[in-house]
Symmetry: C2
Subunit: 134 residues, 2 copies
Amino acid sequence: MIRIICPGKTEPKELKILQDYYLMLIKKWTKIEIIEIKAKSYKDECEKILKAIKYKPILLDVEGELFSTEEFTKFLLNNLNFGIDFIIGGPFGVCEEIKKFKKISLSRMTFNHNLIRIMFLEQIYRAFNPKFNK
Amino acid sequence: MIRIICPGKTEPKELKILQDYYLMLIKKWTKIEIIEIKAKSYKDECEKILKAIKYKPILLDVEGELFSTEEFTKFLLNNLNFGIDFIIGGPFGVCEEIKKFKKISLSRMTFNHNLIRIMFLEQIYRAFNPKFNK
C-alpha cells in the first residue's frame, strides 16, 4: 500500500490528468492513494498531515537521501508490504515535526510541488514496470 | 539564448501545454527555443542533433553533474550571453559523440524523456524568477 499525503489539489488540470493516468497504471500493480489535505493555515496543515499518517512516513525533501531509479525500486518494493505514507510538502514546506521523518530526495533541485507529484508517480510507475526499473 | 535540442515532439498534449506555458513565462526574460529533431533512425538522430548544435553544447544526463537550483541558476546566467544548446536524449539515449559533451543532471533517477523537458523548463523558469532562484 502506497499513500501520498500532500496539501491541496493537483493543479493545473494538465497535471491532474497526468496524475490520474499514472495512478491508473500503478494500480495494475499495487494499491495507491493520494490523500489531499485541506487546511486553513500552515499550522493546521501540519497537524492534519500528522493525523493522516497510518503507515511508515517518508518525507520527500530536497535534502533527503538521493536514490537512483534502481535504488528507489528496491526501497519501495522492500517497504511495500508494511505500507508507506509518502509526504510531499506544499509551497511553504513542512513543519519541524514532519522534517524529523526519514527523507528521500528526487533531486537536489527544488521543483514546483505539483510537478513533484507527477515526477514521483512516474518514478513509482517505473519501479513496478520491468521495462524501466533497472 | 537558450536552445533545447531534443528528438521528436513533446507528448502527450498535457505536457505540450505545460511546455508552451513555461516557454511563455521564460520568454519574458530570455530568448528560448525548442529544436525538435525528426529522425529516421538512431544514427540519423545522432547526426541531426550534432548538426543542429550552434552554441555551447550541454547534455542532460542522469550521470552528469548534480546542481541545486541555486547552482544551476548561476551556471545558466553565467553562460547565457554566449548561448547554450541543451540536449535532451530520446528513449534510446544519445550516441557516444554526444556523450562526450559536458553533462549536467536533474536527478539520479531516470525520468521519461518528455517529462524531463517540463522539469527542465520549470528549472529554467526558476533560474530567472527572483522568487524561486535562491
